[in-house]
């Protein structure tokens, strides 16, 4: 039960940060593919760097263990990514 409450709060913060970065708008998403507005990349990479640094140092301290790392299967990942990009540019997800 507590897990669900945590999920609700974590989700709310995700939605909030996405909204404030403008990633809920169609034009933001498409313009990154047109190289006119790089907000999506800035947002994604900042989030990646912050959480990567945080998670790896927390693991180094022995405070957390990693959950299952998404498995690599090269063809699936790339083909999935290729189809995903089409939908992303169409809808602005």
């Amino acid at each position: 039960m507590t897990n669900y409450i945590v999920a609700l709060f974590v989700g709310a913060f995700i939605g909030f940060s996405l909204n404030k970065a403008g990633l809920t708008k169609y034009n933001k998403i498409v313009n990154v593919f047109r190289f006119t507005d790089m907000a999506v990349l800035k947002f994604m990479m900042t989030a990646l760097v912050v959480s990567m640094a945080g998670l790896y140092s927390l693991r180094g301290l022995g405070w957390i263990t990693f959950p299952n790392i998404p498995s690599t299967y090269i063809v699936g990942n790339i083909i999935g990514g290729l189809i995903f990009g089409v939908g992303m540019a169409l809808t602005g997800y």
Partner: protein, 181 residues
């Protein structure tokens, strides 16, 4: 205090600040409940739940039994949170358009490319979403589930996915925009 409040009220943050917030949330998710962020899996969990009830034979396969077990999972609750979080974000900046006239389609750029009709937006969103979910199923995650939460664990899968995503996204944008690119 006043400064922070004013910043929260701003409609558009610097993507760096919002990115830092998401990064901290990503750490918190792993730390507190040992789970990763993700959005697309939730739809498949719900689809599995409905499918098992409506047509149990058709949904009795490996994918829905083992890879994406149906049920109200962490991801489903997370998605509910995302919905309300986005709403709170819009409400604090005063752009919440619940029930207003141009609530469905208020994007000027979208109207310029595809036309002002609202039904077009619905149809395109529906088709695009099918493509997105299908692709996320193949790759094993979406932008948040694979690219961001896989990337923060430095999983190679995430970076392969981002490569593919941008390659075809750019091509699709080229096709849609043609001369206006």
């Amino acid at each position: 205090m006043k400064f922070i409040w004013n910043y929260i009220r701003k409609e558009e943050w610097s993507p760096y600040v919002a990115g830092i917030l998401l990064g901290i949330v990503g750490i918190a998710a792993v730390w507190i409940s040992d789970s990763l962020l993700g959005a697309s899996g939730a739809f498949e969990n719900i689809a599995g739940l409905i499918g098992k009830a409506v047509a149990p034979k058709a949904f009795d396969n490996m994918y829905f039994n083992f890879i994406m077990p149906p049920g109200i999972t962490w991801g489903v609750i997370l998605l509910v949170g995302v919905f309300f979080g986005g709403m709170i974000g819009a409400a604090t900046s005063g752009t919440l358009k619940w029930g207003k006239k141009d609530a469905v389609n208020s994007d000027a750029q979208w109207k310029r490319i595809f036309g002002p009709q609202v039904w077009k937006r619905w149809v395109l969103a529906f088709i695009g979403a099918i493509i997105l979910e299908y692709a996320a199923g193949i790759a094993g995650g979406c932008t948040s589930g694979l690219a961001i939460s896989g990337g923060m664990l430095a999983a190679p899968a995430a970076f392969l996915f981002i490569m593919g995503m941008f390659a075809s996204g750019i091509v699709t944008a080229l096709v849609i925009y043609r001369k206006n690119y």
